[in-house]
């Protein structure tokens, strides 16, 4: 197959990475990002309300859910990374994307140790979360660039065309 040579990054490394045209990495990232944003919302609510306990507990559990989800996302991301040709803009973008994400995961793991009390929201934790979310925005932007601009794990246009066959041309 000729296009396997020119665009290996469009095809999955293995079945775990999701079928051609259906990468699993973009699905997996919704859990850590969504849970960590929600954790920050819980922090803000906890800082405002009279009884922060349920929000302190909830925020910590959300950080934990995010960490578990990020492990899955990391493995799936590495599979897709392996298919990108070396020494290209795409591969350097992916390397930065991965490096930033490792830093964010490390910061959230560290935060679990900051958040041992269930009675209040530690300010240091809130600051860590804010900085982590900003970093995640940057790495997420690069992840979006890999998929939507560089077309990593997006089907070839010859395949995409199946979605745009008009009734007129089908006749």
């Amino acid at each position: 197959m000729t296009d396997l040579d020119t665009r290996p990054d469009k095809r999955p490394a293995n079945p775990l990475a999701g079928p051609y045209g259906h990468p699993f990495h973009p699905i997996a990232v919704t859990i850590p990002i969504g849970a960590w944003i929600a954790s920050f919302v819980f922090d803000i609510i906890g800082l405002i309300v009279a009884d922060p306990t349920p929000y302190a507990v909830g925020s910590r559990v959300l950080i934990g859910i995010g960490l578990v989800g990020s492990l899955v996302a990391i493995v799936l991301g590495i599979f897709d990374y392996l298919r990108i040709p070396d020494r290209t803009r795409s591969s350097s973008t992916a390397t930065i994307h991965m490096g930033l994400n490792f830093v964010v995961c490390g910061a959230y793991l560290f935060q679990l140790f900051l958040r041992t009390s269930t009675d209040d929201i530690p300010i240091a934790g809130v600051i860590f979360s804010a900085v982590s979310l900003l970093t995640l925005s940057a790495s997420g932007w690069l992840g979006g660039k890999l998929a939507y601009r560089y077309g990593v794990r997006v089907a070839h246009e010859s395949k995409q065309a199946e979605g745009f066959v008009t009734r007129r041309s089908r006749r």
């Binding site: 601009r149 246009e157 395949k159 995409q160």
Partner: protein, 169 residues
């Protein structure tokens, strides 16, 4: 001869609100509702298995509400991208099914929230409703992934994509 014009049209944003070319904002916006609703169901399961039910019942209610707010933003952005897919195409039909399933899922989560009148525990029906919402979301999300990653909606053209494979200096 293959007409590539309809395919190309779906690759460009209809409005800058939908994000620049090669950077659709809908794909970002869907992250919060999905992550918040999955987390809400995790909280439900913890609530029914732990002695601290009230804490997690409250958390689940907040998470469903966060998801609903996020879903409204995602729906607006999704509608903009859908409107640039040419009519009478499989991609347009896939987008319509994706949208209808998501509207049903939003209604199901709103219903799940409305059922949670009890402060101290998670009503079984509400928990089941959330699971049903997640099942709908899996199907609609699969169709959304198909639109982006198989049909290439809002994905840059292969000519633009070639930038990514330029060797580094």
């Amino acid at each position: 001869m293959v007409d590539t014009a309809p395919l190309t049209r779906a690759k460009y944003p209809r409005s800058l609100i939908a994000g620049p070319y090669g950077h659709p904002f809908h794909a970002i916006a869907i992250i919060l509702p999905i992550g918040a609703w999955v987390s809400a169901s995790v909280f439900d399961v913890i609530a029914v298995t732990s002695p601290d039910a009230a804490v997690f019942a409250l958390g689940a209610r907040i998470l469903i509400a966060i998801g609903l707010l996020g879903a409204v933003v995602a729906a607006v952005l999704g509608l903009i991208d859908w409107s640039s897919i040419p009519r009478d195409t499989p991609a347009r039909a896939t987008g319509l099914t994706h949208m209808i399933l998501n509207f049903i899922a939003m209604a199901v989560f709103a219903g799940s929230l409305a059922l949670r009148v009890e402060e101290e525990a998670v009503p079984t029906l509400a928990m089941v409703a959330s699971f049903a919402g997640l099942a709908l979301l899996s199907v609609s999300g699969w169709l959304g992934g198909k639109l982006a990653h198989t049909f290439g909606v809002r994905v840059a053209t292969e000519t633009t994509q070639a930038e990514g494979l330029e060797p580094l200096p």
